[in-house]
């Protein structure tokens, strides 16, 4: 009797575990299937055309792709130095009494839902940009900044974890040779934890590019490519969030599904690079 239960337990757990893989394959298949119409109609124009006009059945996704790239890029150049600073502070500088509480509060802030960051951005940050930088406040720049603040806690926490993998004995040897804290950081910690640190940045990049709610509030969903950062813009997730419930034709839906597929492929690629290339090697280094 128990031999049968044993088999049932083993096979059902295996079945469910394997179905995770099937689920992911299913997600890709469904998105691909629904994108076929758009792929057949728009072809490569989908990613090279700048005109997104659903009423004319014209779907050029370049502005959304451009917006995703630029807003994520802005977020990264703002967040990376801050995250490194916070991580250095947490792993090397903070007094023991502060290390714990500050570290935990950074981790808790990473748990706050992104919709809250978006709401804060809309009510408190948009007016600041409007009054002091220019434009209407709803802009690419605002989106980049809000995004950078949203990914900061996550990035700082994983960067700190990567730095903390450096064995104390290596650091102590460097200090014993008369190294300053900065010497130890740049010549011992960073070389040792390099792969982990870069991996965590790329992981944060993967998250940022798929982030929807933090930017939807402040980006404006305007399909245009503008070199003016204070102009409203759109990104792939922002377009999806705003237009999915409005789509009224088969081709419109299909174009949105192609955007979803594109986003999934991009973030899968970025996260895989982080995971397989950098973080795996980091693990071996430990």
């Amino acid at each position: 009797m128990s031999a049968i239960i044993d088999k049932i337990f083993a096979y059902s757990s295996k079945f469910i575990a394997v179905s995770i893989l099937l689920l992911v394959a299913w997600i890709f298949t469904v998105l691909l299937q629904h994108s076929l119409e758009s792929m057949a109609t728009s072809g490569f124009d989908f990613v090279t055309q700048t005109k997104w006009a659903p009423n004319l059945e014209k779907f050029g996704a370049l502005p959304a792709i451009y917006g995703s790239v630029i807003s994520t890029f802005l977020a990264m150049i703002l967040a990376v130095p801050l995250a490194i600073g916070v991580a250095i502070y947490l792993s090397e500088l903070a007094p023991a009494k502060l290390k714990g509480p500050v570290g935990v509060s950074i981790e808790l802030l990473a748990a706050i839902p992104s919709v809250i960051y978006g709401m804060w951005g809309l009510f408190y940050f948009v007016p600041i940009i409007r009054d002091h930088v220019g434009g209407i406040g709803i802009s690419m720049l605002t989106a980049g900044i809000v995004l950078s603040i949203m990914i900061l806690p996550f990035m700082a926490a994983v960067t700190r974890d990567a730095m903390n993998t450096t064995p104390d004995i290596l650091k102590e040897s460097a200090y014993a040779l008369g190294g300053t804290k900065w010497d130890v950081i740049k010549d011992v910690i960073i070389p040792y934890a390099k792969a982990g640190i870069i991996g965590s940045f790329i992981l944060a990049l993967g998250r940022a590019i798929g982030e929807t709610m933090a930017v939807t509030f402040v980006m404006g969903n305007v399909h245009q490519i503008s070199t003016d950062l204070t102009a409203p813009a759109t990104s792939i997730p922002v377009t999806l969030a705003n237009e999915f419930t409005e789509a009224d034709s088969g081709l419109y839906y299909s174009s949105l599904f192609e955007l979803s597929l594109l986003l999934l492929v991009i973030s899968f690629t970025i996260i895989s690079i982080a995971k397989f290339y950098f973080l795996r090697r980091a693990r071996i280094g430990q």
């Binding site: 083993a10 969030a241 986003l263």
Partner: protein, 280 residues
Amino acid sequence: MTHTSKRILMNKIIMTLSTLSAIIGMGFLFWILGVLVINGVDALSWNIFSQEGAPPGYENSGLKHALIGQLFLIGIATLVGVPLGILAGTYLSEYGQKSALAETIRDISDIMMSAPSIVIGAFVYAIIVAPMGHFSGWAGSIALTIIMLPIILRTTDDMLNLVPSTLREAAFALGAPKYKVIIQVVYRGAKAGILTGVLLGVARVAGETAPLLFTSFNDNFLNTNMNEPMASLTVTMYNYATSPYEDWQKLGWAAAFILSMFILALNVLGRLFLLKKKGK
């Protein structure tokens, strides 16, 4: 300037810069928390919990519909996602171990954890909302379940791995079949860890908005029928905050406050369980 004094100066500059960036980073984050608490507490009232949504300008409006809708959406996602996730995690740790299949499942789950949640919404829209012809609470719950699964699976896997193999061997030596060893020995040893994983998983999906936008959609009134569109705190917050009406925006802040406190409480609770375990 000598080489040494240059190095000391450089050290001072970098240390000041990183302290400064820690202050700037923490400043922004506490600004957000402060705004959330001030606006949230200001907007809280008994009406929030006892009244449903109302057109802008009505005095008696609240979030009862969104609170109950949110409980339904998360509740069902938890009921489905937790057992499935734990069972799959059990396979990885107890059966699959280091096999290629188990490693692949681990890698894919890790990637899924960081994949954009709005894409899951699009997927569920295609397989459930479009064939059914309307938005529904079920669709929302399923989207949340898909997001929750990899989180529960990976934490269960990690936590079961921490149970010493000698415990398993002792139970096997007594003649217990594998499923009994897993349920009565391994699960017991990893109880606190699994519970932490569940709490963090629930906290994670509770804050999801994007996958609900076009699955469970929204409803301004109380609805407990999972076959109908259903309100959630997050989507309600989004709709109210982007509306031009001040009383709706206020309700949005109340929703933001309640949701964040709920999520922070789950996170703190999860950490406490882990700490308690470490303390033993």
